[in-house]
């Protein structure tokens, strides 16, 4: 069994986290989204939460971001319990409307730096320009979000998040609303950025292929309520390995872990539709 060396403490530690939603139906009841989920994220991890819809993976990410408080268990970052949202954990959402439409690309990336009073205007602008160029949007600084394509909007969101230099970058299905070609492009670029910067990433997806390609460690969750089904390694896979035999085997293994039945021949040949890779 492989263990991390004892001296290395996890950056984010979730211990027996249960999340509950208050439901307005029938005079108010609580719905359990996850039950007793534990996992550790180490520095520079690309940690993926994977599971079918209804497994509470997005809720877990929102809890790590501080938007939801766990009803039981705890989430700690560097030993400190998470209390409310904060700029050390920046979220990239799936929806394109995470960018205020009244700000240009430059103003959008500068906004958190100024809102948190971390940098002066001139420094913020310099850093924002740097990150906009990093995600390949140089020349679009003065464009408003509505003039950009979906992939470009997500790049702005990623630049905005990385400019904050957060302890941990939280991505909630960031590429799910993109077309298949753009998505592949963005996965590639995220990998390239990570190679260069080695940030810590917590990534939510419902696509097995994306999990294998993006992550180095995958937490599999079962639905209703979300419970840990398995924790797997995927550091050996990259975008190049998408067609290889090991990759296919890993896909099949995850599929059978999630659905408790080996996939039929038809599914093995043509992976489900949302895995458009």
């Amino acid at each position: 069994m492989v263990r991390p060396p004892a001296a290395v403490e996890p950056l984010l530690r979730a211990e027996a986290v249960s999340l509950e939603y208050r439901s307005a139906e029938r005079g108010g009841s609580t719905v359990r989204a996850t039950h007793g989920v534990s996992f550790d994220v180490y520095r520079s991890d690309r940690f993926v939460l994977l599971g079918p819809s209804g497994c509470g993976k997005s809720s877990l990410l929102k809890a790590a971001a501080g938007f939801i408080a766990p009803s039981a268990g705890s989430i700690r970052i560097d030993g400190q319990p998470v209390q409310g949202p904060g700029p050390n954990r920046v979220v990239v959402f799936q929806e394109f409307d995470q960018l205020p439409p009244w700000k240009t690309v430059l103003a959008n990336v500068m906004f958190p730096l100024l809102a948190t009073r971390r940098l002066k205007r001139a420094d913020a602008e310099e850093r924002a320009r740097h990150w906009i160029a990093k995600v390949g949007l140089g020349g679009f600084e003065n464009a408003h979000p509505h003039t950009l394509s979906g992939g470009m909007k997500q790049r702005v969101a990623i630049a905005r998040a990385l400019a904050m230099q957060p302890e941990i970058l939280l991505m909630d299905e960031p590429f799910a609303a993109l077309d298949a070609l753009t998505r592949r492009n963005m996965q590639e670029e995220l990998g390239r950025l990570w190679e260069e910067l080695r940030f810590t990433l917590l990534f939510v997806t419902h696509s097995i292929e994306e999990a294998l390609v993006v992550g180095n460690r995958i937490l599999l969750l079962s639905p209703h309520p979300g419970q840990v089904r398995a924790e797997l390694n995927s550091h050996q896979f990259g975008l190049d390995s998408a067609g290889s035999a090991e990759f296919q085997a890993a896909t099949r293994r995850i599929h059978s872990l999630l659905f408790d039945a080996p996939p039929t021949a038809a599914e093995a040949i043509a992976p489900s539709r949302d895995l458009a890779l």
Binding site: A65, F67, P85, G86, P87, R89, V90, V91, F93, E95, D97, Q98, L99, P100, P101, W102, F111, P112, A115, T116, H144, P145, H146, T147, M164
Partner: protein, 290 residues
């Protein structure tokens, strides 16, 4: 003949594509279409058509005590401007109007900011708007005169009442329509309370706030003119409503029309210069409205 039609197998092709920039992607519209795309031109044509219809109707009717024509009204209007009387009346009305309007905006903002950040504020706003929005401001004027006397304060009071509720309702509806993702993005960077309202909610709700401002402006005008018509002058210095009322009594119908035209002109100017410009530099530029 077989029923099973197989599509023919065809040759594969690969083409060389012209380099981008070689092909003209953008083409200017023909001049006539470009001219027709100008909103001011289309609107001017509408105004001219309306004026023509009016003049025709007046000529056909042939009684300038009942319906003076466009040209006669225009002459009375120009005379009023030249003599300075109309301008003085407009100034008096606008001063009172702006005071009430600004006070109403401040009150509406305070109320909606409270409603955006606390639950009790939300209940307060919902209850108050449900109570007072249907209440005509002019119906409060007798009370206002009793409380504040026959002066400007009474007028400002009823104008505030006319502006506050529709604007608060519009802004509040706008706040409620702000996407949850945008709120979360703001909270992610530690914004809360008034800063969240100013940095995220107000700009995001600006289309609704602008429409509230427009409705408020219209209500303020109506209320002011009606108040002056019903209760006349305040301290000898009447506004436009008083001008209309006075001239009707003396059967200067063309001057009545000139007074009405002044109200309409100010409405057109404010809508096209102030609100349109505000929309152009904000919601249109941001792609939040077409």
């Amino acid at each position: 003949m077989t029923l099973l039609l197989e599509p023919p197998i065809r040759q594969e092709y690969e083409y060389a594509v012209a380099a981008p920039g070689r092909l003209a992607v953008e083409r200017p519209l023909p001049p006539a279409q470009r001219l027709w795309a100008q909103a001011w031109l289309r609107k001017t044509l509408i105004l001219l058509a309306l004026a023509g219809l009016w003049e025709l109707a007046a000529r056909w009717q042939g009684n300038d005590l009942l319906l003076p024509g466009f040209l006669q009204t225009a002459r009375a209007f120009v005379d009023g401007i030249a003599s300075g009387e109309l301008l003085a009346r407009v100034r008096t009305s606008l001063l009172v109007l702006l005071q009430g309007y600004l006070a109403g905006i401040v009150a509406a903002f305070a109320l909606t900011a409270l409603a955006a950040s606390t639950r009790i504020g939300r209940d307060l706003l919902e209850t108050l708007t449900a109570m007072f929005n249907p209440l005509p401001a002019i119906a409060l004027l007798p009370l206002a005169l009793l409380w504040f006397g026959l002066g400007r304060t009474s007028l400002v009071f009823v104008i505030v009442h006319a502006v506050l509720w529709p604007l608060a309702l519009g802004a509040y509806t706008g706040f409620q329509g702000v996407p949850e993702t945008l709120r979360m993005a703001g909270r992610n960077y530690g914004l809360r309370g008034l800063r969240l309202v100013l940095h995220i909610l107000v700009p995001a709700a600006l289309p609704a706030i602008l429409s509230g401002l427009k409705i408020g402006w219209a209500f303020a005008w109506r209320t002011l003119i009606a108040a002056e018509l019903v209760f006349g002058t305040t301290a000898g210095q009447g506004g436009l409503g008083w001008y209309i009322f006075q001239n009707r009594n003396e059967l200067y119908t063309d001057k009545v029309f000139a007074g009405l035209a002044a109200v309409i002109l100010i409405g057109l100017l404010v809508d096209n210069l102030v609100f349109r410009a505000l929309e152009r530099v904000t919601v249109r530029r941001w792609g939040m409205a077409r």
